[in-house]
Amino acid sequence: MGKALRIYQHPIIEVSIPAEKEYVKFLFEDKVIQATVEDTIASALIANGFDIFGLTEHNHPRGFFCAIGKCSACLVEVDGIPNVRACITPVREGMNVRKQAGRGKPVW
């Protein structure tokens, strides 16, 4: 597990405290993940300590790298659809996210 944490106080930017936040829940590998409504899949996973988003074709753990949808390191499977970029996909209540291995299982 990573040692990530949410920022609840900051000298410059406005941050809201946990009680003021609006939350949604989704599944990651069958575990319930609590996310704020502003989260992307990537920010929610990292905030909850999950840095490993999947495996490469050669079974190496894979996380994210660029956070702006360029590097494709963060590909996950969402509701059975592979190759979703976790870093630029907002979270949605009830979505089912799974680790992706390599290019993902064909859906056909």
């Binding site: 900051h10 992307t40 990292i46 905030a47 840095d51 988003f53 894979r62 360029k70 630029i88």
Partner: protein, 611 residues
């Protein structure tokens, strides 16, 4: 089908960062019809990299100098939206074909096809990646990615960080990480000098972050995620030197090793792509009006050359006005010329040397020089509260000059000039301290028995008046203890000034402070009484061992004072200056060890038996 698809636009702007936004602004303003412009951006939020920038920008007021990046983003987006420009977010231009442009809207999961009379490409850049052992381990993140997580999504991906690269991005990320509450163990830089602005480097150095020059990362440690990093010294050819390896325990390795322009769409549009390393690698061909070799395709921002946000904005305006002029037939050449003059002024300095020489490849010549290079030696009249500017490099920035209410500061004829201050005019008001984007201006005053140093402060917690603090020098080393004399809170833009009382002679040494950590040093193990507890009582005038024992229960636990009595007497002696031999030792009361009641009972029982 969701809504009516647009099948033709007069101008398509790709990218809603600073260049794309000012481009759209120039076009919409000239045409008087924002809806002729469509901006498409992949991101969830518009503004490109601006929303993740929490520092104040350099430059001049005309381009938001001294305003924080995320605020600039909001202002530009508002202006663009007010003009009625159409913006599509979460939408990627996936291809520019001979017969049209294809967009993919992720939020609706639909592809659209459209034609455009003009295209302005402001696609920005991608972070570079470097090769080292285990470099794909989760926890090796790009600098921009770390900024996105912490400043946009308010998630810190770890507690302790190693930063690779001491360019402006690496230095800024280090500072932003400390602001968010993280620890930066070190910044490693392969070359022999810091690539970014000295003022950015100074901000992190005085907070105690080491910058290791001629060092690079050679390995990420960890099985499933980063648990550490190995760095090594490098030779001139950047090869690691065997035996110089050092290990850092970190959660995240943050790569700030440069950017490369996103040229794919330009190439698809038929633009010549040329390798110009000074501009960032492969870049599209373009002229001084930002027009490419394709008549209706323009570029701006990091796509054209890796630079910074101000020049991106100016290039956006130049491209935008040129497109608008062609589309409308209106003559806006004056506005174009004005922007070109701005660009010339900005690019005269030493930090633009690479861009200037890169652009020569395209037959575009920018003049250099004409800015003041000499530093001010005069530090002003002793005893007067006054500003001290520590901005030793020629960088394009002048808010100190434009914000000074008494006109005491000037950077000379060119914006890159080194600021000088007229001490006859400086009143020590501190406005320049708050405005300076480099946090490079301090206030000093020599008083009779101490000196005052005013420091710009953008961290948490805010110290309290009267609080004792460690005084740090420019390298972040503790040089003594001082006291917070006053704090000027700046609720609006959150650069506060902390006035420190420092020993005479340290007024030009102290540039930062840290909080004194109170460690618990236990004296009495049984009752958990600390040295601090005892010292506080002594400070109140209670100096007698018996009295301290009664008040704190020190020596009244199961050990009966065997461990703590001598230590307590030593503390009394140290604090009061009374020799230990002259301090009342106090009574030694029985029992010397805890005695069970059962033992006493047994004694009586055995006594009774005998009788």
């Amino acid at each position: 089908m969701v809504g009516k698809a647009i099948d033709h636009v007069r101008v398509l702007v790709v990218g809603a960062g600073p260049a794309g936004l000012t481009g759209a602004l120039a076009i919409a303003e000239t045409l008087g019809k924002g809806s002729d412009v469509l901006i498409v951006d992949e991101g969830i939020e518009p503004g490109g990299q601006l929303p993740k920038q929490t520092h104040k920008f350099f430059g001049h007021e005309g381009f938001f100098a001294s305003v924080r990046g995320f605020e600039i983003g909001k202002k530009l987006v508002k202006r663009v939206m007010d003009l009625g420009v159409i913006m599509k977010l979460q939408t990627t231009v996936t291809g520019i074909y001979e017969d049209g442009i294809v967009l993919y809207d992720r939020s609706k999961n639909i592809v659209e096809h459209l034609q455009a009379d003009y295209i302005l490409l402001a696609t920005g850049a991608t972070e570079k990646f470097i090769a080292f052992k285990n470099n794909t381990l989760p926890g090796v993140y790009g600098a921009g990615a770390v900024q996105t997580l912490m400043n946009q999504y308010k998630v810190l991906p770890g507690r302790s960080f190693l930063i690779v690269g001491a360019g402006n991005i690496g230095l800024i990320v280090a500072y932003q990480l400390i602001q968010a509450g993280a620890t930066v163990k070190a910044i490693v830089e392969g070359s022999s000098k810091i690539g970014g602005y000295m003022v950015h480097a100074n901000k992190v150095k005085r907070l105690g972050v080491p910058i290791l020059l001629n060092h690079t990362i050679i390995e990420a440690i960890g099985e499933e995620r980063v648990e550490g990093a190995v760095v090594a010294q490098v030779e001139k050819n950047f090869k690691p030197i065997y035996g110089t390896e050092k290990e850092f325990v970190v959660d995240v390795i943050c790569l700030a090793v440069g950017l490369q322009p996103n040229v794919d769409l330009a190439a698809q549009a038929g633009v010549k792509i040329i390798y110009v390393p000074e501009l960032g690698g492969y870049v599209p061909f373009r002229d001084g009006n930002m027009k490419t070799n394709i008549d209706n395709v323009y570029i701006a921002g990091d796509l054209s050359s890796i630079e910074e946000a101000t020049t991106a904005m100016i290039e956006g305006y130049i491209a935008g006005y040129n497109i608008a002029q062609k589309l409308s037939g209106k003559d806006v050449s004056e506005k174009i010329e004005k922007m070109k003059r701005e660009l010339i002024e900005f690019r005269k300095g030493p930090f633009s040397q690479k861009v200037r020489s890169g652009l020569e490849r395209f037959g575009i010549y920018f003049p250099s020089g004409g800015y003041r290079e000499q530093l001010q030696i005069d530090t002003g009249p002793k005893g007067k509260l006054r500003a001290i500017i520590e901005c030793p490099q020629a960088i394009p920035c002048n808010p100190c000059e434009t914000s000074c209410p008494s006109g005491a500061i000037n950077v000379g004829d060119n914006i890159n000039g080194i600021p000088h201050i007229d001490y006859n005019k400086c009143t020590g008001c501190g406005i320049c301290v708050i405005k300076c984007p480099g946090l490079a201006i301090f206030l000093v005053q020599e008083k009779e028995d101490y000196s005052l140093v005013g420091i710009p402060y953008e961290l948490l917690p805010i110290p309290e008046k009267g609080q004792h603090v460690n005084l740090l020098d420019k390298e972040g080393k503790i040089v003594g203890k001082g006291m917070v004399e006053n704090i000027i809170l700046n609720k609006k833009d959150r650069t506060h000034i902390v006035y420190l009382r420092v020993p005479t002679g340290l007024e030009n040494v102290v540039r930062s402070f840290s909080f004194i950590e109170h460690f618990k040093e236990f004296i009495c193990r049984c009752e958990e009484i600390t040295k601090d507890d005892i010292e506080k009582l002594i400070e109140l005038g209670i100096m007698d061992y018996e009295e301290i024992r009664r008040m704190l229960r020190i020596g009244m636990g199961p050990c009966g004072g065997k461990t703590c009595r001598n230590l307590t007497l030593q503390i009394i002696s140290e604090k009061t200056g009374i020799p230990i031999s002259e301090i009342e030792l106090g009574a030694f009361r029985p029992p010397t060890v805890p005695l069970p009641f059962e033992a006493i009972l047994n004694y009586h029982n055995s006594k009774n038996k005998k009788e």
